[in-house]
């Protein structure tokens, strides 16, 4: 005849399950095969394949986002890997010196917002004047400017969303072209 386990043992088992679930839920989303490995060149084919393949992906990794940002800003990305990209962006003051996210983790909106705010030279409101472009307020400035959708800094971007945000960046920098008559 089988006896039921004691209540304490069951409680421990439940706690372990809950802890495992919570820890699994807290993991940052991971991108398995970033497009930077497949379309890393600077030719038109590689660039357009990168943008339009990215639009079909469920997530944008840090590596893909920084590659996209360099392509947008310079029209090319000469960095041969993620570390070089991060170093390039840090040297230009677009990323904070403390940025150390893994290449294949999904990009956080706050991290991207800081780079975009620096790229566009957005000065922001009084909080950003005092504290500089920190993720929380960089996101708010970009939401106000219509470049980001209403967001929290911890959210990630799908590929299509990232491409959409880059499109809005384009509109922000060339407002005359946006929405005007073709006549």
């Amino acid at each position: 005849m089988r006896s039921d386990p004691p209540i304490a043992a069951r409680a421990i088992a439940w706690a372990f399950c809950a802890l495992t679930t919570i820890c699994a839920g807290c993991q940052t989303a991971h991108v398995n095969s970033p497009l930077t490995g497949k379309f890393s060149g600077n030719d038109a084919d590689a660039q357009l394949n990168f943008w339009h393949e990215l639009a079909n992906r469920h997530l944008t990794s840090n590596d893909e986002a920084l590659h996209g940002l360099l392509l947008y800003a310079d029209g090319r990305d000469d960095a041969i890997n993620y570390d070089k990209r991060v170093a390039t962006l840090k040297s230009r003051g677009l990323l904070p010196a403390s940025f150390s996210e893994p290449a294949n983790d999904a990009i956080r909106r706050g991290d991207l917002a800081v780079a975009v705010v620096n790229l566009l030279g957005i000065k922001g409101g009084w909080v950003m004047h005092i504290f500089g472009p920190i993720p929380r307020y960089a996101v708010r400035e970009l939401v106000y400017a219509g470049i980001f959708p209403p967001s929290s800094p911890q959210q990630t971007f799908s590929g299509a969303e990232f491409v959409g945000v880059i499109g809005k960046l384009d509109d922000y920098q060339q407002p005359v072209a946006a929405d005007t008559s073709v006549r």
Partner: protein
């Protein structure tokens, strides 16, 4: 021997034919990118397929003639056909013309397929399928009947003789714009007309009630205009203007600003305060001070015993000019050579409790300032520390001096508590302190003693 020779001739002929077929098919695949296919050019019963001319290319743009075809770089003067697909990169665009009168432009980071471009007699049917991006479409009326649509995953724009834009790109809501003429914009289960015949710019965003709803949601009312102000605020600002002040609006702090003018004199003040509870800060020097009011609602005596807890807070701007209980600061006075005045007021009912009134020095030269509090038009006692920093004193009008980096404040009990009033002595400088009066009146020459800071000092950067 002879049969072998004939056999060799046939083999050679066969190889030549095979090579010709392969070559022609290979050439045909290249030519397809620049010429409409013969099969598509004429379709019995469904009209004639129209050609599409690429007229302008900017940046990175590629086209392909079918799903299985390779992408090739787009060049001006290329000729495309139905089924062609276009894609663009950042800072890029491609403009195509479908003769005689249709022009479309796909700009930055978009993909469009020309699904239909057919002419049947006097009727032209065009359908662009936009996976994402933004497409401008222009049809100039040239005696043809048009049935043109731009279809995206979440919306459709039907175009008839107009100049329109459709943008559909996650994570943003799709929108349609008509620069001239009327178009029909479908989003979700709703269809709206965008623009009007011979009309001008109109925009409809998905999820709104068409152009009118979009216009309303995008409207920003400049708070300087009288129609956007409450009657009370309009009267206060009109009084400031009458005293020589200039009214403006600070979009960063989100509040009207007042520059120049002068503060109310003592004789004017009681008659001009608008609320059932009013906190007034006035100053006379060329400086910018800001008024702060903190509220600890409840029983004032209990709150004193428990210590002041700032539950509500009023400050001129940054979204803090309104409090949940109805407190309001109508403008931020930036001061001027004759000083300035800021007010916080409650109309109708106001919370009982312990209040704190503070003055924060923002910029300028050290200046004399005066606090007044009125409940239902009657002056209320304020409690603050004397110059020794230890003795608590009271007055219904407190006048002191504030310099750069300093902050000064007093406590107010609402409603007034006679018991406390009896216990706390009056300010030796008078109850009320001399305030602000017109030149020539004796007390106008009053120079208040420079007290130590009333409740505390902190830097002007506290907010």
């Amino acid at each position: 021997m002879r049969s072998a020779s004939v056999y060799n001739h046939f083999c050679a002929l066969g190889l030549i034919c095979l090579a010709s077929v392969c070559a022609s098919s290979a050439l045909g695949s290249n030519a397809a990118a620049t010429r409409p296919s013969a099969a598509a050019a004429s379709q019995p019963g469904s009209g004639t397929s129209m050609v599409i001319h690429v007229v302008a290319v900017k940046g990175l743009v590629q086209i392909r003639t079918g799903d299985e075809q390779p992408w090739v770089t787009a060049m001006p003067n290329m000729i495309l056909s139905e089924g062609s697909e276009l894609r663009t990169g950042p800072h890029s665009s491609i403009t195509c013309v479908i003769p005689p009168d249709q022009t479309f432009t796909l700009d930055r980071l978009g993909t469009v397929r020309v699904q239909d471009a057919v002419r049947n007699g006097n009727k032209v049917k065009t359908d662009l399928i936009m996976k994402y991006g933004r497409t401008h479409y222009d049809i100039e009326g040239a005696g043809l009947e048009h049935e043109a649509t731009i279809t995206s995953p979440s919306s459709t724009l039907a175009v008839r003789g107009t100049d329109v834009v459709l943008c559909d790109q996650v994570p943003f809501t799709p929108y349609a714009i008509s620069n001239t003429g009327r178009a029909s914009f479908t989003y979700g289960h709703s269809t709206y007309s965008v623009g009007s015949k011979h009309g001008s710019y109109a925009k409809a965003t998905g999820g709104t009630d068409g152009s009118a709803g979009t216009g309303l949601s995008e409207t920003v009312v400049d708070p300087r205009y009288a129609a956007s102000l409450t009657a009370t605020d309009a009267a206060l600002l009109a009084t400031e203007v009458a005293r020589g002040a200039v009214i403006s609006y600070n979009p960063i702090s989100g509040i009207e600003t007042v520059s120049g003018g002068r503060p109310s004199y003592d004789s004017e003040l009681a008659a001009t305060v608008p609320g059932s509870l009013d906190f007034v800060l006035r100053w006379t020097g060329n400086a910018n001070l800001n008024l702060e009011v903190g509220v600890d609602p409840g029983d004032p005596l209990t709150n004193i015993a428990n210590g002041f807890q700032k539950v509500e807070f009023l400050y001129p701007g940054y979204g803090m000019q309104n409090s949940p209980s109805g407190g309001h600061i109508p403008y931020d006075d930036l001061g001027g050579p004759a000083g300035g005045e800021e007010i916080a007021y409650w109309l109708g009912s106001h919370p009982t409790g312990l209040y704190g009134i503070g003055a924060q020095f923002i910029s300028g030269v050290p200046t004399s300032y005066t606090f007044n509090v009125f409940e239902n038009g009657q002056p209320v006692e304020m409690f603050y520390f004397a110059s020794d920093g230890v003795t608590l004193i009271k007055s219904t009008q407190e006048t002191r001096t504030l310099g750069p980096g300093q902050f000064s404040g007093s406590l107010v009990l609402i409603p007034d508590q006679p018991l406390i009033d009896q216990i706390i002595p009056d300010d030796p400088a008078g109850n009320p302190n001399p305030g602000i009066n017109p030149p020539g009146v004796n007390s106008a020459s009053f120079a208040p003693a420079v007290h130590a800071l009333a409740i505390g000092a902190k830097t002007a950067r506290q907010h």
